[in-house]
Amino acid sequence: MASVPQLQRQLIEYTASLYDEKYLDDQFLQLQKLQDESNPEFVVEVVSLFFEDSEKLLNNLATALQQKSVDYKQVDSHVHQFKGSSSSIGAQRVTNVCVHFRNYCEEKNLDGCLQCLQQVKHEYILVRNKLEALFRLEQQILQAGGSIPMME
């Protein structure tokens, strides 16, 4: 079992790498700031909700794009939802793909949409894994009796 300072440093580095590689942006920081004693599980709560929502949306999108006549309006609204929620938690790479996705929707470009769906799925899974790892690390620190260091 690693010591608390070690784990804390690890967490800082890991979080910094997430920002550097643009998985996350400032919005996630804001989110972390909203968490306080009165609401200690706020970030995990929001992110879990995001995971839930996203999986539903991805399923919906996959189904919608498999239809014989694709309802682009519906696809667009799904993507919009996805874009909104991802930007709310600061998963900016997902948000960026969503922007492209919506452009393809406007053009009614099925190939582009399918390609974007794959991309957005990929990015989502990436960010999910990263966030889960982050939470695990935080959990470890808390279990070891340390506190979560705040990023500036």
Binding site: I12, K33, L34, S38, L49, D53, G84, I89
Partner: protein, 981 residues
């Protein structure tokens, strides 16, 4: 004369050819010019091209040909051929001119000769004819007076006298004699009558002519003895003419023809000179002109002969004529063409030219001619030779010029190509260098972030003092390295032209907070532009100032350009000591002297031009270095003294240019420098009042005590940012008077440390008086200090705020003071963030279809103490928002399925309207609606895209404002404060 003409002609020809040569070259260069202009179409060039096209429409082939000429190798060989051709042409021309002139001269000479010869021949002929006529006249005389009279009226004596006296009439004759026809039957009687015998003509001994020795004539059918003779030829008397071979023939022909007849040239008897004898027949009666020879022979009485001594006579004749020396004259008897007999003249060498004039002496059976030659051969044709030589020389000269020109052009073109090549290579190298720099800088930056991050982590561990010091140094060095790399990267970006400016909304105060800049009140708080780059320029200038300034101040001011331009005209120059630190500075106005006047800058109307000055009291820039200051890599003095790469200013200049601004400076060595630049931003058109952001200090009163106006102005500028009213007084005494007399409450007094230290006892007294003022809250006292290091420690010294004044720090200091105040007076109330104050306990409805968003927004509002209810679509929102309202405000997402935010808001407003209407009508009781007759719940839109159109649409739909999503504390505060204050 003609020689000069010729030279002139030659020169003209040469000039013409030279012009031709030039025009030829010009056409070539124009041609290349056309090629150029085709690549880069340009308006003015197009006109030229058009002009040329018109000019050369007919010679498009030639143009094509010129383009072909463009290849250097071809041109070279072709021009060499042309040169050879030209020289050949010149040589031929020269030869032709030589020949032409020579033949002309020859022609002229021939003509002269012909004229002279003809003249002589005519004269000779005329004189001969005159003599002949006279001889004929004499024959008639004899016929009349000798044969017509009986006895004869003429004897030898009379004849001799007469002929002697009329000799001038016969200029060509040396003598005349008359022979009578005597038949053999009459001989004896005739000899008797004359007293001498008829003698035979025997020219045996020419030297000693003795008539006595002559033999008598042999017996013949007839004789022709001479009876009369001129004295000059008296020796021929009694000689029988028929015995001489030539004479006999002559006599016989003369009597048969009835005309004058000439002998061939013969040696004259006695004189032995060459002569001809003219013989006329004397007839007994007049004969008709068509009489037959027989009739004529039968009628013959005698023969009159004239001796022509041609040699002497011609000599005499020629003596009378001019220019006798120039020509030789020969007279020939050419009766026998194959063997002409020379009658006059000597045989001379052939001088080439000869002219022959025919002579007619009246005897058709004899032919004579005169041949003339020049005594001298034709002289050298100097004119022809020099003219042709001149032309040849001109040809060579022109050829040489042509050759030299072609060589020169080739050389220049070769050089040009070489230069182009070198230039291209240099440019490529430059680009490669920039790329390399950019790459390397970028590559260095990545590991450096790692290094710095690790150093940060290292700082957090347990280190002793020395270790901490080392880490701090390492960190500082690392940061310096990163900033240096950033500068190099910027430079590389500038060189490759890939630098671009952002256009984002930013707060000027936030950007410049830590620089403690003075910002004019007229400058809007929020601008659209590139804050990072803007800050970079200022930081760079300030950084430079810091490097070179050891004492005094560095002062950053921000104004509107119009403001400054106006003040130049209006205000007189402030006194040189009225500066931030009291030290003299360089003249700021001079630093923007070179800028374009404000009126000339073309900007869109909503744009704002700021003018920023950075003033320092450093060492200044040496005068000789001033012109080069913006050149890249240029440094004043060796860089080891101050460090730096020397590219900061050039980057700044470039960035300023990108912002449509200008940069300039004024510097006085040992006094300081002032750099000034302008930058154009756009105005977001938001109506904002400065200083509303920090509401705690709103409407509070502060007083700054500072005798120096500029420094006081800067302090005021910063304190005003907190929303306070600021007054400036120059001394503590006036401060006191103001406090005792003034009705206003003064919350804060800020005193310049310098004033405080001036008279410590006075100051302490002042602070005492201040505390005992008869007011509800006694004013808080602060000192404004330039440096952290305090002077002698004093017990009663008030709180010190270190300058430069930063809003955040100022606010913190003032808050602390107020907090102390409150903790003393009230029951330990903890000062809270202004936003929390507004939102605490408020009931707020958040509407968003996106669960995650909903949760985040709710979380944010809850954080500020609000009581949040969520709804996930517009319908639910409408259901919840019916008067009487349970909520203090509603945040609504715009884009939602089924019913979007605009529609939902419209519906809510309709319901509110109808309720309000009915309350007025009285159909609804006021009591049921909590005594409120005008229901209007604040609805704020939440949107991710903050654009003007959305804002307008929000207002049209009945919304009260909008906030960006995700929430931004400042903006949220501004919007919410409109309803909850």
């Amino acid at each position: 004369m003609s020689f000069i003409h010729l030279i002139g002609f030659g020169l003209k020809v040469g000039h013409l050819l030279l012009m031709l040569c030039y025009s030829f070259l010009t056409v070539i260069s124009l041609n290349s010019f056309i090629n150029d202009s085709q690549m880069k179409p340009n308006k003015s060039r197009k006109i030229w091209v058009k002009f040329l096209e018109i000019f050369s429409s007919k010679t498009s082939k030639i143009h094509h040909y010129y383009q072909y000429i463009g290849s250097a190798k071809f041109r070279k060989t072709w021009w060499r051929k042309l040169l050879i051709l030209w020289i050949a042409f010149g040589t031929i021309l020269a030869l032709w001119i030589f020949w032409y002139l020579r033949s002309e001269a020859l022609e002229k000479r021939k003509e002269t000769l012909a004229n002279m010869c003809d003249e002589r021949a005519r004269m000779l002929q005329d004189q001969f004819n005159v003599s002949m006529n006279h001889v004929q006249a004499m024959s008639i005389l004899i016929s009349t007076f000798h044969h017509g009279k009986n006895p004869s009226a003429i004897d030898q004596e009379t004849f001799a006298k007469y002929t002697e006296r009329t000799a001038f009439e016969r200029p060509l004759t040396s003598g005349v004699a008359y022979a009578v026809r005597v038949l053999d039957s009459e001989r004896e009687q005739f000899e008797k009558q004359q007293g001498w015998t008829i003698k035979k003509m025997t020219p045996v001994n020419k030297d000693k002519y003795n008539p006595e020795e002559l033999e008598p004539s042999p017996v013949q059918p007839e004789y022709a003895p001479v009876i009369f003779a001129q004295d000059t030829v008296a020796h021929v008397i009694s000689l029988d003419m028929l015995t001489g071979k030539e004479d006999r023939e002559n006599v016989l022909r003369a009597r048969a023809l009835g005309k004058g007849v000439l002998t061939a040239p013969l040696a004259l008897i006695k004189s032995n000179r060459l002569g001809v004898i003219l013989t006329f027949a004397v007839y007994k009666r007049d004969l008709p002109p068509n009489a037959t020879p027989e009739e004529r022979i039968e009628a013959t009485d005698g023969y009159l002969g004239g001796v022509f001594d041609i040699e002497s006579l011609v000599e005499k004749l020629l003596q009378q004529l001019a220019s006798k020396q120039t020509i030789y004259v020969n007279v020939f008897d050419t009766t026998n063409i194959s063997n002409p007999i020379s009658m006059y003249g000597i045989d001379v060498l052939d001088t080439g030219l000869q002219h022959i004039s025919p002579l007619n002496f009246g005897d058709p059976s004899r032919k004579h001619e005169m041949r003339c030659r020049f005594k001298q051969k034709q002289p050298w044709q100097i004119l022809a030779i020099s003219a042709s030589f001149g032309i040849f020389v001109i040809t060579l000269l022109v050829g040489h010029i042509f050759h030299a020109t072609v060589n020169r052009i080739t050389k220049v073109e070769d050089d040009y190509k070489k230069m182009l090549d070198l230039k291209k290579r240099a440019e490529e190298a430059d680009v490669a260098k920039s790329e390399f720099l950019a790459n390397v800088s970028h590559e260095i930056r990545t590991p450096m972030t790692g290094v710095l991050g690790m150093l940060d982590t290292l700082m957090d561990t347990n280190l002793d003092v020395t270790q901490q010091d080392h880490v701090r140094i390492a960190q500082a060095s690392g940061k310096a390295l990163v900033s240096l790399i950033n500068a190099v990267l910027d430079k590389a970006k500038i060189e490759s032209g890939t630098i671009e400016l952002e256009a984002v909304r930013f707060n000027l105060w936030e950007i410049l907070d830590d620089l403690a800049a003075y910002i004019s009140a007229k400058v809007p708080e929020t601008l659209i532009g590139d804050p990072g780059r803007f800050r970079q320029i200022i930081t760079n200038l300030v950084g430079n100032s810091m490097k070179f300034t050891k004492k005094g101040h560095i002062f950053v001011t921000v104004h509107l350009l119009e403001e400054v331009m106006k003040s130049i005209d209006a205000e007189p120059e402030p006194s040189s000591n009225d500066t931030l630190s009291g030290l003299p500075v360089a003249d700021r106005n001079r630093s923007w002297e070179g800028f374009r006047p404000a009126g000339q800058i073309v900007c869109p109307p909503e744009s704002i031009t700021l003018i920023i000055s950075v003033e320092d009291t450093g060492v200044g820039i040496p005068l000789d270095a001033q012109p080069r200051i913006f050149t890249p890599y240029m440094q004043v003095g060796p860089s080891i003294y101050h460090g730096g790469t020397g590219i900061g200013l050039s980057i700044s200049k470039y960035l300023v240019n990108l912002m449509n601004g200008e940069i300039g400076f004024d510097s006085v060595p040992q006094i300081g420098s002032t750099f000034t630049f302008t930058a154009v931003f756009s105005n977001p058109n938001e109506q904002q009042i400065n200083g509303q952001s920090m509401s705690e200090f709103c409407n509070m009163q502060a007083v700054v005590v500072d005798p120096r106006p500029i420094r006081a102005e800067v302090s005021r500028c910063h304190i005003q940012q907190l929303g306070m009213h600021v007054e400036i007084v120059s001394s503590l005494t006036s401060m006191l008077t103001m406090l005792t007399n003034g009705s206003q409450t003064v919350h804060f007094v800020l005193i310049e440390e310098e004033v405080w230290d001036q008279d410590l006892s006075n100051s302490v007294e002042f602070s005492y008086k201040l505390r005992n003022l008869n007011q509800e809250i006694s004013p808080k006292l602060f000192l404004l200090s330039n440096s952290i290091s305090n002077g002698p420690h004093q017990n009663n010294k008030p709180t010190v705020i270190t300058k430069p004044l930063r809003i955040s720090m100022l606010a913190a200091s003032l808050q602390r003071a107020m907090g102390d105040n409150k903790s003393n007076s009230s029951n330990g109330e903890v000062p809270k963030l202004s936003l929390s104050k507004l939102l605490i306990g408020r009931k707020i409805l958040v509407v968003d279809d996106n669960n995650v968003n909903l949760l985040v927004a709710a979380g944010a509002l809850k954080k500020y103490g609000a009581d949040v209810v969520c709804a996930d679509n517009g319908r639910k929102a409408i259901a919840l928002l019916k008067p009487p309202h349970l909520f203090d405000a509603c945040f609504m997402d715009i884009q939602m399925p089924e019913m979007d935010g605009f529609e939902a808001t419209k519906k809510i407003r309709e319901i509110e309207h109808s309720v309000n209407f009915r309350i007025k009508n009285g159909s609804l009781s006021l009591q049921d609606y909590a005594d409120i007759s005008n229901w209007h719940v604040p609805i704020l839109a939440m949107t991710a895209d903050v654009i003007q159109a959305t804002h307008e649409r929000c207002l049209r739909s009945g919304m009260d404002g909008y906030v960006s999503k995700p929430f931004e504390a400042n903006q949220l505060y501004q919007e919410v404060s409109r309803f909850f204050l």
